[in-house]
């Protein structure tokens, strides 16, 4: 077993996911403790260019038609071969629809330990966040290749990006009769706005209570030159389209201002907006976790606040 830290790069339809850069930043920390290198692992088909800004010391790339789009079976087979051959100290996967599909299977298949929900590396140990963010667990690397799944929040993607592309080595994979195949992608409904490119976002959560009250958020957005977005419960009710959803299953956003109205701050939502420049949270519950990541907060009923706020903004 060498002391290198592998990072399984996640990409979807020609785009490298932010989590890949975050993992590279974490891998850098871990590699410093183990004394090895940060090695990116890229699987795909005609996908070399995706490696361009990955902050890895080197990159292992395998090109195979069966790897063109992510499917759990093919990717898992490809990595099984690689990990058995290479035996790195640790391997990072995203705690995502891609990484979670393969990390567990590989752990069971190769008999390697797995630590999940890792948010950052501290002194060569892995800090994981579980139970809705209420509990942290610190785990050490085990004596065998340790598989790790990572959640965002501990590093910024910029920390895993570089201008100098890493050196690429290709490797072969053997993929036999995959039992999972991609039939098609189904796009979400055409988005009227792309919330990830907005400067100001007014986010509504359960606290907005009814669909009619969205009007108030829209007014506020209008006055601030922004757009309304929402946490999952609001989208599940059908009050806003999925294109407006912020969070783990929605979009990740980095606006200048994220005004959260009636949002408690559950980890799945926070994942999507933790990089906002300024977070202002309005919530009646003083214990709401959103106040732990917000810059400003007010423990006040959003319905009491809206009218005075609209007035004050109009006068300004």
């Amino acid at each position: 077993m060498n002391q290198d830290i592998f990072v399984v790069v996640e990409h979807l339809r020609g785009q490298v996911a932010d989590i890949s850069y975050i993992m590279l930043a974490a891998a850098r920390d871990l590699a410093q403790a183990t004394g090895g290198e940060v090695v990116g692992v890229l699987l795909g088909h005609n996908a070399q260019d995706l490696a361009n800004d990955l902050a890895a010391d080197r990159l292992l790339y395998s090109d195979h038609p069966a790897l063109a789009e992510f499917t759990s079976d093919a990717y898992q087979q490809a990595l099984a071969g690689l990990l058995t051959a290479q035996a790195p100290r640790a391997v990072f996967f995203g705690s995502t629809s891609i990484g979670s599909d393969i990390s567990g299977v590989l752990s069971a298949r190769l008999g390697l330990p797995l630590v999940s929900s890792c948010i950052r590396v501290a002194d060569g140990n892995l800090i994981s966040q579980i139970c809705g963010g209420k509990i942290m667990a610190e785990s050490a690397l085990s004596n065998e290749t340790t598989l790790i799944t990572m959640i965002p929040g501990g590093y910024k993607p910029a920390q895993g990006q570089t201008e100098t592309s890493p050196a690429i080595t290709t490797f072969e994979v053997n993929i036999e009769a995959p039992r999972v195949s991609l039939k098609q992608y189904i796009e979400p409904e055409a988005a009227d706005v792309d919330i990830s490119s907005e400067n100001v976002l007014i986010a509504v959560g359960r606290g907005i209570q009814t669909e009619d009250n969205l009007e108030l958020a829209e007014e506020l957005a209008g006055l601030l030159g922004g757009v309304v977005c929402a946490s999952r419960p609001v989208v599940d009710q059908g009050w806003l389209p999925t294109s407006r959803m912020v969070g783990k299953s929605g979009k990740s956003v980095k606006p200048k201002l994220y005004l959260a109205l009636g949002i408690s701050g559950a980890p799945e939502h926070v994942e999507g907006m933790t990089d906002a420049e300024m977070i202002v949270a309005i919530n009646m519950d003083p214990d709401a976790p959103i106040f732990d990541i917000a810059k400003y907060g007010a423990e006040i009923d959003l319905f009491d606040l809206i009218d005075p706020l609209l007035e004050a903004l109009e006068e300004a």
Binding site: Q237, M284, D285, D301, F303
Partner: protein, 659 residues
């Protein structure tokens, strides 16, 4: 000597007139009873059994009060007077005919002064009837109130009964025109009309033959009315009194009927006509389509799919047309969920229909089928898991009390005089904790020996039962009874009328030891009367008081809260719909846990407007935590913050007790 001539002016050459009269009448009565039986037998053939034969003397009393004296009909002045004018007249006519029959065949007594009184009474009521009929015609053709069903069938019935009376009046007047007895004045109506005939100068023979003609006509119209009665709108004359007789005898609707069961104890969930009890089918047939329930219904006023009148008529229509599926077909599920269980419909119904039990029965079916909207589902799941609808831990129930200096006693651990059952909303809703704290402060200031159950308290289950989740209701009752049985106390006092109703009417009294349950306004009223509670200052506000449904209409507590308000030095200006006519805020029956749905105007907003229209009122006083929630919101959404503020009664008390 005033005396009565039997069958005056009716020829005997074709045999005794009695023969014709009684044959026709018996035939008509037979047909009527036969048809009625055929209709009525559907109730017990299709419907489930239900025991309603207890306390016959009380039932008889109900029949007299509601079917004869008709106190409920009289709650509205114009239609009340109109209807008793018609109905009482008919009672008198019926009695008169019966007395005449007795006189004719058994025992002669209608002569002399007796006859004079008899004739005068009958004539007086003839005039009363005609006034009533006139009012009815005006109502149906000019006033045309929305709640009535304006269909030809009703006009037909009105026509028949009017023709009967006119027939009687005409025959009498024609006889008087011929006989012109000395005591003709004792029949003022008939004698008055007789002048008309006398003035025509027609011969006695002519008048007598007109008399005969109209007399025959009168006989036939009566027969026709009897024959058509069971299939027309006059059926309520039979089913109404029956419905009053078989109405629920326990405390006015504070206790819901339990779920139905088969003889072997298997539960019956009501989705089809045959799942209803015979009494509920009778409810359908008793409906007079008067629409008073609809007028009083907050859900109907808000534009939801619910009309209590239409709901009952759906039952009737299904009964008449052999329909069977009610839930989802004859009755929309949205309509069933729209009910706030305020009880106004039952309170207004002149024939004592029990709309609520039918609605809750059908809700029980929907709950068993899992046909429950997502928000209600969340609330019920939270109630089942945490004992409160907010989804918060039981340990947080007394969080509102944290800041209070002298710690409130735990009634589960030490004996108290008053066990204060706080209620979900007062305990968990962040907007209400200040009011709950003030309540505690008032109790402490008065020097009451009180305690709360802390986390031993669960939702009382009142609205859980009304939402149809009977199993969850039973579970909550079990949990609360455990906590109550472990505690030592003299009286339960609640700040939430829903909890009040449940503890008082739905909980087993033997478990509670039959200890009294008071709403805090009742308690304060008692303490004011005994002198233990004296106010330091007089507030002088002009306020209006909204009677909470579960305190007022359900449990008759109207005056105690008013006395307390007045004791604080405020002046009460009543809204048009006050006391038992108070208009529900819309939160009851589990509605506060459900998605609002389509509404044209929220009941709470309509009520606030009603208060603001009084013109000089600054405070809207309530005595229920859900009322605060609903009305404070409504004041904002109707932009009335400048004109009126919503306060709990305890806030007035608190203020009047402070320096």
């Amino acid at each position: 000597m005033p005396e009565r001539v039997n069958y005056w002016g009716i020829p005997h050459n074709w045999g005794a007139p009695e023969l014709y009269v009684y044959t026709i009448m018996f035939l008509a009565a037979f047909v009527m009873l036969f048809r009625f039986y055929r209709q009525a037998s559907l109730w017990w053939k299709i419907g489930q059994p239900e025991a309603r034969w207890d306390k016959l003397h009380l039932r008889l009393g109900r029949l007299i009060q509601y079917a004869i004296v008709q106190t409920k009909v009289l709650r509205q002045r114009y239609p009340g007077v109109m209807h008793v004018a018609i109905a009482w007249s008919y009672f008198v006519f019926f009695l008169g005919t019966a007395l005449a029959t007795i006189h004719d065949h058994f025992f002669e007594f209608l002569f002399g002064n007796t006859l004079i009184v008899y004739k005068f009474t009958l004539d007086a009521f003839t005039i009363v009837f005609l006034v009533g009929a006139g009012m009815a015609i005006y109502r149906r053709y000019v006033q045309k109130p929305r709640r009535l069903t304006l269909e030809p069938g009703f006009t037909g019935s009105l026509t028949l009964i009017t023709l009967i009376v006119l027939g009687g009046l005409f025959t009498e007047s024609l006889r008087l025109a011929v006989e012109q007895p000395a005591w003709a004045w004792s029949s003022p109506a008939g004698w008055g009309l007789a002048q008309l005939w006398i003035a025509t100068g027609a011969s006695d023979a002519a008048l007598t033959s007109w008399h005969l003609g109209i007399w025959v006509f009168h006989l036939l119209i009566v027969a026709l009315t009897l024959i058509t009665l069971p299939v027309g709108t006059l059926m309520h004359a039979l089913t109404g009194p029956l419905n009053a007789f078989f109405s629920k005898l326990n405390h006015p609707f504070g206790t819901l009927s339990p779920g139905k069961e088969t003889p072997t104890g298997k539960p019956i969930y009501v989705s089809q006509l045959s799942d209803l009890s015979w009494k509920q089918l009778l409810d359908g047939d008793a409906c007079t389509e008067c629409g008073r329930c609809q007028d009083a219904c907050p859900a109907f006023a808000a534009g939801t799919p619910l009309s209590p009148k239409e709901l009952i008529l759906s039952i009737r229509d299904a009964l008449r047309s052999n329909g069977s599926q009610l839930v989802g077909e004859a009755i929309a599920t949205e309509a069933l969920w729209a009910c706030t269980t305020c009880g106004a419909c039952i309170h207004e119904c002149p024939v004592l229909i029990e709309h609520l039990d039918a609605i809750v029965d059908m809700r029980r079916y929907l709950v068993i089928e899992g046909d429950v909207d997502a928000e209600l589902q969340d609330a019920l799941t939270n109630l089942g898991r945490y004992g409160n609808s907010f989804g918060q831990s039981e340990r947080m129930r007394a969080k509102w009390a944290k800041g209070i200096e002298s710690k409130i006693k735990d009634a589960g651990k030490e004996p108290v005089e008053y066990l204060w059952f706080v209620g979900d909303y007062a305990a968990y809703s962040p907007t209400l904790s200040e009011i709950t704290q003030k309540t505690a402060a008032v109790f402490q200031q008065i020097g009451l020996d009180f305690g709360i159950l802390y986390k031993g308290e669960n939702h009382s289950g009142n609205d859980v039962r009304r939402a149809g989740e009977e199993g969850l209701f039973e579970m909550l009752v079990e949990k609360n009874m455990k906590a109550l049985e472990r505690s030592e106390y003299q009286t339960i006092v609640t700040t939430d009328p829903h909890s009040y109703n449940a503890l008082k009417n739905e909980y087993p009294t033997n478990g509670n030891g039959g200890k009294p349950v008071l709403h805090y306004t009742e308690l304060l009223d008692q303490l004011i009367a005994s002198g233990q509670l004296k106010f330091i200052k007089k507030l002088g506000y002009k306020v209006t008081y909204h009677d909470p449904c579960y305190l007022g209409r359900y449990n008759g507590v109207y005056d105690a809260p008013r006395r307390v308000i007045e004791a604080t030095g405020c002046e009460i200006i009543e809204m048009p719909r006050c006391r038992d006519q108070a208009f529900c805020c819309g939160a009851g029956g589990g509605r506060i846990w459900m998605a609002e749905g389509e509404m044209s105007e929220r009941p709470s907003e309509a009520r606030i407007r009603e208060a603001v229209e009084l013109g000089n009122v600054t405070d809207f006083i309530v005595a229920c935590p859900k009322d605060i929630t609903m009305y404070a919101d409504a004041v904002k959404t109707t932009s009335n913050e400048e004109y009126i503020v919503v306060k709990d009664l305890i806030e007035l008390v608190f203020e009047a007790l402070s320096e």
